[in-house]
Symmetry: C2
Subunit: 321 residues, 2 copies
DNA sequence: ACCCGTCAGTTATACGTATCACTAGAATCA
DNA sequence: TGATTCTAGTGATACGTATAACTGACGGGT
């Protein structure tokens, strides 16, 4: 073995006094009984001694796969997706896969056109219908926080239960005029929240905003300035809730005395502002989604999953005065 | 070409009526003049028509590289690192590289032991000295927000200028008792902030906390309860500032009337709480670091870079009353 | 007429792995 | 005892690419 480069299975073979194919058989562990235990030990020792690590490129070429999974999300800077990534990456490396992020903006409404060639599978979240339609069929896919009726197995939190919890909490406090500060993005999870809310709250008023503190602020300002303003604002995520919180402060309204506010996610924001919010099991969702994807890749069926999401009650909700 | 699998350069060759090597020469573009323009056109058309994409595994095997960069950071869920990732990934894909994250906790003080085999280069941030020492030499490395005197070229923001801006701002408002809510993590960037602050503020009092809202809250509570409490708290990041903000509220202290608070990062948190903070050019740092790494990989020298960081003045700082 | 250089390609080969096809000797069996 | 099966391996090959080495044709210079 040349001193400057990594040892190959051929080097290990030479060191152990066997052939390269024997090394491969021993180390892959897929050929029980093909090699005597004594020889196997010998090979393993030699590999250990030389610090042998199989060359992934050669293995990928031979096996026709890449051991790479692509995570398609709008932005890794959004804490929810960062948490999904973290959970998914953990499981991926356990299985010897690596996970790369492919950003696919929420606004992108055309068919998905990522590099679907060099990957073994895909995890995706928050894609519009049209984008989804652009997925070429053969790539194994698991979706996170997406329509269970869609083309791939999903890992979701229980949106309807969460909405139910929020409404029950607010009704229990005595709220009768409830507003919805909705993310104006046409993806399943937000449509689903809106529908669930409309089902349970006949008097619902809705305002729409892009997902940012600034946009939430503007829209909440409008909603809270209206005559007969809502006494509670259900926001589609914590960023919007933070905007609403700021709007309330700006209007001299007391939180929660004059207006109660709830969010979704339970990021730093919610802790800092002491927001009542639905804590999404983002990291767990990433873990499970990747586990399911591994199942699919190994030919096992993937079981769609619904996780509970906990309503965290803090100081942004209370009895209307 | 079998209908079920991707076309190879051999398929393209057959379609264009030339040899595989000609296809390779044409498509790599590295052999100007070796192939006639007519043939080249012909090959390019065939490749286009078949939808040919080179097999990365084969290319990697042949060329002995992986086109993969590893980003070593404590946690991708921290918004600063997520932003660095975003910037770095953008540049990486432009160069045909993919970027994988390897988590290396702040607490990890042993030598770094990531899989340094299957990558072409590394970007790292916030590593302790001992971890850094564990890096095997030959892997090209660029560091982000790290000691410029370290073993690799760095991309930093101007910590000293930022500290200078904060102190000047607070002095200008009339503050005389300034405290430092410090991250109790032994990495260069935080040591550097503490040193810069100690240089400029003789009366400095320091409290230490892990980077979280809860820990910041506890420590700030202690600092703000002391006799002769500071009238301004310089926090090492926005999370700690959020904790300090909460502590002030908890003690019935007015922000900024009774206590001014500053942070670092300019995440969502700072916007939501209207914190005065230093906006770090995280995404730009990621971009530049990856650009430098590409330079190194192509044999060009990497130029260490210092970016300005802007002090964003909001409502958490003011004249002490 | 001879040699040489250039042009425009082709052929052959190596990268490192996994696996298929084969085999020498030992063990089993009728 | 001769035929068969089993054991524990070896040897050869293919994955798809990039490139070094080769080749035949043509034109120019002397």
């Amino acid at each position: 073995m040349p001193a400057h480069s990594r040892p190959t299975s051929k080097d290990v073979a030479a060191a152990a006094g066997v052939s390269q194919s024997t090394v491969s058989m021993v180390l892959s562990g897929k050929w029980p009984g093909r090699v005597s235990e004594a020889t196997a030990q010998n090979v393993r020792e030699a590999a250990q001694r030389l610090g042998y690590r199989p060359n992934p490129a050669a293995r990928n070429l031979r096996l026709g796969r890449t051991r790479t999974i692509m995570l398609v999300v709008p932005a890794i800077t959004a804490p929810f997706f960062a948490a999904v990534y973290t959970g998914a990456a953990k499981v991926a490396v356990e299985h010897g896969f690596s996970l790369v992020v492919f950003p696919w903006p929420l606004e992108a409404d055309g068919p998905f056109s990522g590099p679907q060639e060099a990957i073994d599978g895909m995890l995706a979240s928050s894609m519009g219908e049209n984008s989804l339609a652009g997925m070429r069929r053969p790539v194994p896919l698991v979706m996170v926080d997406s329509d269970p009726a869609g083309p791939a197995p999903t890992v979701n939190f229980d949106v309807q239960a969460a909405i139910g919890d929020i409404v029950a909490h607010l009704r229990g406090l005595g709220h009768t005029r409830i507003g919805h500060l909705a993310a104006d993005i046409n993806v399943w999870t937000f449509r689903s929240r809106a529908l669930g809310l409309a089902d349970r709250v006949p008097e619902l008023v809705t305002g729409r905003a892009a997902i940012s503190i600034a946009a939430g602020f503007e829209t909440a300002l409008r909603m809270l300035s209206a005559p007969d303003r809502p006494t509670a604002l259900v926001c589609d995520d914590d960023t919007l809730a933070a905007g609403a919180h700021k709007a309330a402060r700006h209007l001299g309204l007391n939180v929660p005395g004059d207006v109660s506010i709830t969010g979704f996610d339970d990021l730093y924001l919610a802790e800092a502002l002491e927001l009542t919010t639905v804590r999404l099991p983002a990291e767990r969702m990433g873990e499970l989604a990747m586990t399911h994807l591994m199942d699919v890749l190994e030919g096992r069926p993937a079981t769609p999953t619904l996780l509970p999401a906990e309503l965290i009650i803090r100081r942004s909700t209370g009895t209307p005065t």
